[in-house]
Symmetry: C2
Subunit: 295 residues, 2 copies
Amino acid sequence: MSPSLRQIRAFIAVARCGSFTRAALQLHLSQPALTVQIRQIESALGVKLFDRNTRAVRLTRLGRELLPKLERLQLDFEAIIADSKGLAGGHRGVVRLACLPSVAASVLPAAVKSFNKMFPHVNFHLKDVSWHRVVAMVRSDEVDFGIGDIIPTEPGLDFIEIFEDKMQVIYPARHPIDRLSNVSLRTLSQYPLVMMDSETSARSMIDAAFAAAGCQIIRACEVMYVSTAAAMVQAGLGIAILPASSPEWRAYQGLKAKPIRESAFIRPVGIIKKSGQTLPPVSAAFAESLKTKAS
Amino acid sequence: MSPSLRQIRAFIAVARCGSFTRAALQLHLSQPALTVQIRQIESALGVKLFDRNTRAVRLTRLGRELLPKLERLQLDFEAIIADSKGLAGGHRGVVRLACLPSVAASVLPAAVKSFNKMFPHVNFHLKDVSWHRVVAMVRSDEVDFGIGDIIPTEPGLDFIEIFEDKMQVIYPARHPIDRLSNVSLRTLSQYPLVMMDSETSARSMIDAAFAAAGCQIIRACEVMYVSTAAAMVQAGLGIAILPASSPEWRAYQGLKAKPIRESAFIRPVGIIKKSGQTLPPVSAAFAESLKTKAS
DNA sequence: CGATCTTACGGGATTCGTAAACATA
DNA sequence: TATGTTTACGAATCCCGTAAGATCG
């Protein structure tokens, strides 16, 4: 048989104390129980560990050689346990998440900051990537969970809504749209649009909305970054439909924004995670803080 | 509570197999018992380790992070156990012993050689030192045991006789002693003696024997090494009384040896060890082989 | 004789295996 | 429905603490 951790603890305690009685006190154990433990570990290892008579308890040479090895083992063990319990509490660890750039640039920084104020020992690994990549990274376990909209609902993934992100139209200040009180989909279809890359969730939503309404898109150009789109609008190439949470366009002079009230342009943004997958405690805590903060 | 080794084994097995059923088979355990073990270690660590449904068992992120650490711990543990059992068998390890030079140069080499043929993985740390040092090294645990004579019996040390070493007188070939059939103590007291250092056991015995017989020693000189003594005898400074087991004098031309039959010059040589001290298995085995070889 | 380890034994907790219930693809 | 996990429960085992015994200084 192989020795147990309890027996190893007993061995180390007796070796350090040089006495069964004192070691038993230290271990909160009766002394006969200790005798049994030592006998068991000696028989398990096949080695006499102590030379003991009624007056003195001394390590044998093999016991002396074994002691530091087992002490090291015990320290390693306790370090692992302590580490694991620290992670379990949710006060420490790493939150890995993937997030749409629009969210990463708008609501997320404040959320991370306030969470980090409560739990300073939590690190964030944040991937701000396109919607396709968010879903892919959740599926491949590269991240604990993702933040984004999920249209249509993907099989095997859970979606928990955090807030609704509306779309807005970005246009040059002197554009005709500026005079309208209400921007309809049909209105938008009359002007050239600066489109985002087809992998973005905004683009998916726009394509779907126009298709559902039977409208054609007049495509001005197609870009990868929101900033580029804003620059294109500023240059007069067209107007852009962007998430209301995206703040980048404000950096460009002479642009204005107007919300779009069409229901097709309201997207629920939320947590995307594999169904039936447990989040690490820190990640679960952060996800929870997002949900409560939004409401 | 802290997890047990059994629970750690269970965790590793399930993680590797990806299935409770297969892991249970591998562990020779019923599957419900495994379920309990996993539940216990999860509660002990405060961490969910597996996401499990009836179809699949998958590690949590924390479980994935914990697995290599615990695997490493288990390997370390098993290495220690295996090492310890190897040492317990007596087939492997180190024999540390201190030994009188006369014994180290005569009977010991053959004993070590034959023991090493039986157990090739045993190493010897052999200290060939004077009698005082032999006893001191045994007392201070620098060696597992010593080999020498023990006169008078030292308190706290055990002595187990291996063989009797007789003394012999070394003299130049043309010395008057050569014509005697029996060399008595009284005869020896008539000639100058080349003495060994007072720390040697041979010297102690000679001093004691002469004192007991009320004879005076005619001291020619006092040297540290047997070889030196032989050289002195060859040079005609005197005769020497040396252990019959010391072979060095044969290297010097023109010397002869004759046994001394006086009982005071017969010394029991044996194993010297601390009483109540357990020898490492290899050392015990070697000591045993010495005892049986001598008889 | 006193301090300390060992042995003996009864009670309580832990752990196992069998059988039945439960859940998901 | 079939496969695989969980729950329930009785039985065996392990472990502890008390009390008595043994041993060495």
